[in-house]
Symmetry: C2
Subunit: 146 residues, 2 copies
Amino acid sequence: MEGKDLRKAGLKVTLPRLKILEILEGGGMRHKSAEDIYKALLDSNEDIGLATVYRVLTQFEAAGLVTRHHFENGMAVFELNEGEHHDHLVCMECGRIEEFVDQEIEERQLRIAAEHGFEIHDHSMIIYGRCNRPDCISRATSARRT
Amino acid sequence: MEGKDLRKAGLKVTLPRLKILEILEGGGMRHKSAEDIYKALLDSNEDIGLATVYRVLTQFEAAGLVTRHHFENGMAVFELNEGEHHDHLVCMECGRIEEFVDQEIEERQLRIAAEHGFEIHDHSMIIYGRCNRPDCISRATSARRT
DNA sequence: ATGTATGCAAAACATTTGCACCTGG
DNA sequence: CCAGGTGCAAATGTTTTGCATACAT
């Protein structure tokens, strides 16, 4: 059996949820849009509707299994919650996304929230720029990758 | 005359652009959505279409007059570019938005981008939480304010 | 069985675009 | 006068929802 994560999250173990979880765990980029996942399902010959993908992702988010990000293009991408918190570097040329953690930044965030009387729930720190990878500059935003 | 900012930005001075700029400068919240601005125009009995609001905001952004933000709800909000760069604290209860600058965080961002071989263009650091204002907890996300 | 999850199609949004008309310089 | 700006309506792209059916427990 495989649906432990799901059951532990209080979700009934169904085929669509298993498949979507599998895709999120699977290779390729860590940050996938609903559409990406839907396409991956089609490629695997799974008969799962786009609406279900959105519903499942929303449940996963509520259950804390995934995190939803809104990068500058307005389209949401989802990332499996494994390991610890981290922030993001996004390449505006090729869409590459890298992750980082900086303890100093984390600490200062806490202090700033406190200074403003905010009870901090979450935060997002995104750096936009251009990675100068050999495979980057040339290509448009079409080919997104980890 | 009043359209100096516009002309300086290389934009023809038209009534819609002046009115929209005026609303952005005007009172209320500093961060306004296209819809907010459109409603404000209607309230001022200006006959300006929503499409124009979007077009003008996009031009303003290109001209560096405003900054577009995507907070967690996916809807874009626009903020007039006056003063220096800053980051945001967003209250998830009442929608209040506060601004802050932390020099240490700014510096570490530069370093992190460099370490990852990124040429930094921009960044966004948003802390989500709840401000514990007397006028906050009770109300829903409907009433947004500065 | 039975309440929940799914698929499909349609709706709801935010945003963009095509096109004929209007306006600023 | 004329390029560029605008209004309106229609198109787009993403995400949500209604409802009848299928499924997990």
